[in-house]
């Protein structure tokens, strides 16, 4: 299978207790954790009343996407995007299922249209006025690796820069005991290819090695935890990692600072 070269132009990160990339880097460097952190991000892209009302996944995805674009100095209105999430918004799925079981005619139209897997992608493109393609994918425990693969494949197909946004949120209700996910965890990367792209990625047969970084240990209970070996390697600036890419499949990523 093929190998791709890529560059990381910008990084956005947000997790319960580590609200930003600087906080994540400090934690990885010496275990420091901020004394207080908000329960969920409040991205200024959303109008104040929407910031409170926005589903957790939408607030999370927009916060990290904005941070990654800022870090890259990229115009968000121009970037094609790949949104990936294992479960989408489990709180909304729980609401939909519970309401359908009790009072189906009272389903909220807004929560229904927010229940689509591409809700975060939709709010993002609306918020930044982006007409470029946006997709929303899922691949169970391989959701991050498959999203990353699609992003680098879009680069190989000619896109100059692609935004990857990966996130999962807190599970709720009966569904949460079947599809568990704790807290909020997301990372966004602005990726590019071209001459001198230092990093490489290859899809290969085999299972990924178990994670051994402190972020993976801290956020193991969130469904997007399989992305964390790469996030930890990015904080270190170089190194290799293996990402779960499907049954019997892994992505090998080599970062060269």
């Amino acid at each position: 299978m093929s190998r791709f070269a890529f560059k990381v132009d910008g990084i956005g990160f947000w997790a319960s207790g580590l609200p930003g990339w600087e906080a994540a880097r400090a934690f990885l460097a010496d275990g420091t954790v901020p004394e207080t952190a908000p329960r969920k991000p409040a991205p200024d892209l959303l109008p104040p009343n929407e910031r409170r009302r926005a589903p957790d996944t939408v607030a999370l995805a927009i916060e990290i996407a904005m941070a990654a674009c800022r870090d890259a100095g990229a115009d968000p209105a121009l970037l094609p995007s790949v949104f990936t999430s294992t479960h989408g918004d489990l709180a909304i799925t729980d609401y939909m299922c519970a309401t359908l079981a009790s009072a189906p005619r009272s389903i909220s139209p807004t929560r229904f249209h927010n229940s689509v897997h591409n809700a975060a992608a939709g709010y993002w493109t609306i918020g930044v006025g982006c007409h470029a393609p946006a997709t929303a994918v899922s691949a169970y425990t391989a959701s991050f690796a498959q999203g990353l693969l699609e992003a680098v494949v879009q680069l190989a197909d000619g896109a100059p820069q692609v935004l990857l946004v990966a996130y999962d949120a807190q599970a709720h209700g009966a569904l949460g005991r079947i599809s568990p996910s704790e807290g909020l965890l997301g990372a966004a990367l602005v990726l590019s290819a071209g001459d001198g792209a230092p990093h490489s990625l290859a899809l290969e047969a085999g299972s990924a090695e178990p994670p051994h970084d402190p972020l993976s240990a801290r956020y193991a209970a969130n469904a997007m935890a399989p992305m964390l070996p790469l996030i930890a390697a990015l904080a270190a600036g170089s190194g290799q990692c293996e990402l779960v890419a499907g049954p019997g499949l892994r992505l090998r990523v080599a970062l060269n600072g």
């Binding site: 359908l100 079981a101 591409n118 169970y140 569904l175």
Partner: protein
């Protein structure tokens, strides 16, 4: 064949749910499973990707579990299977049902899902990740979409009438379909695709149809074709007042009178995440047989429609056909297919 009466084989019992049953039935149709297994033999299981589209996947199983919670509030034992309560249920099922070991992913961009799978899979083939891909889409009716679309007041009280001046909304449908994409071969060609975002509203299209136009123009550009090269367009044509208004205007603005266009949702209903694959197959049948569908149930076209819009079925040799699929979140995809 009845989806209610056709359980999955014992080896696939872990994926049992109504949506995956429909996927299983669709795999058996028209000899598709044999073609997919032949591709596995030719290229190797790891070199065939699975790229599936769906809007709600098997959320029907989650909805059912909530009606049968045990006294402690837990899922009943027969539904306590994580894989059927997550969007990738469909992609994971198809990958295992066909014994494939390459990349497998589920695209869930609402009603454009199973059009976008063609673009994503074509990129995987063109960039050398795989040699072939099984693409498709499956969506079954469930409480979420039945009550959700009613809450949005988008459902017609009568059979849907796409592009009719008196249209009152969509009719919901369910469907499953698949296609096998290969780098070369004797089948029809996927010549181009265009993807875009409206950047306007979560559940209402851009008022000037900007996203729809960008998707169609992108597909033409990638195919190296002009609007006059397109002989038939299978439109998104949901029969909601707004979708058909903007799509009719976009078609009238972009295409010459020689292009034929219709919505086939009068036959199928709006099959949501399966609409892309079902309507691509209808466009491909027009390409193969020269039998071009009109627009069922509709009587008087909205005056916004150009001469492209056709109510009656017709016959013409098609050189190139297009399929449009537009979804919530302002997510649009257009595909262009050509003769072998």
């Amino acid at each position: 064949m009845d989806v209610e009466q056709t359980p999955l084989p014992a080896s696939l019992a872990g994926w049992e749910c109504r949506n995956n049953r429909l996927a299983w039935l669709a795999l058996q149709a028209d000899g598709f499973v044999d073609r997919a297994l032949a591709a596995r033999q030719t290229y190797g299981a790891a070199s065939v990707a699975v790229v599936m589209g769906t809007s709600t996947s098997s959320i029907g199983a989650s909805e059912e579990a909530y009606t049968r919670l045990d006294p402690a509030g837990n899922f009943p034992a027969d539904l306590a299977r994580s894989i059927v309560h997550t969007p990738h249920s469909l992609g994971d099922f198809v990958q295992h049902a066909l014994g494939l070991t390459g990349p497998a992913v589920t695209v869930a961009t609402a009603c454009s899902s199973s059009a976008k799978v063609f673009a994503q899979a074509a990129r995987l083939i063109q960039t050398g990740v795989v040699d072939a891909a099984v693409v498709g889409g499956v969506d079954t009716l469930c409480g979420s979409v039945l009550f959700g679309f009613n809450a949005l007041e988008l459902v017609s009280p009568e059979r849907c009438q796409p592009f009719d001046v008196a249209r009152r909304g969509l009719s919901l449908g369910e469907a499953g379909g698949f296609a096998l994409l290969e780098r070369s071969g004797d089948g029809p060609r996927l010549l181009g695709w265009g993807e875009s975002s409206d950047a306007h509203h979560m559940s209402s299209p851009h008022p000037e149809g900007l996203g729809a136009r960008l998707a169609m123009e992108g597909a033409l550009q990638r195919a190296g074709l002009t609007p006059a090269d397109i002989d038939y367009i299978n439109l998104h044509g949901t029969a909601t007042p707004k979708n058909d208004e903007i799509e009719a205007a976009a078609i009238a603005a972009v295409f010459p009178a020689s292009t034929w266009a219709s919505s086939t949702k009068g036959w199928t209903g709006h099959t949501l995440g399966a609409a892309g694959i079902i309507e691509s197959v209808i466009a491909l049948l027009a390409l193969e047989h020269g039998e071009v569908p009109g627009t069922l149930n509709s009587v008087t076209l909205d005056p916004l429609c150009g001469p492209q819009l056709r109510l009656e079925n017709g016959e013409r040799r098609c050189r190139h056909v297009m399929n449009n699929s537009f979804g919530f979140g302002g997510n649009n995809a257009s595909l262009v297919f050509g003769q072998a």
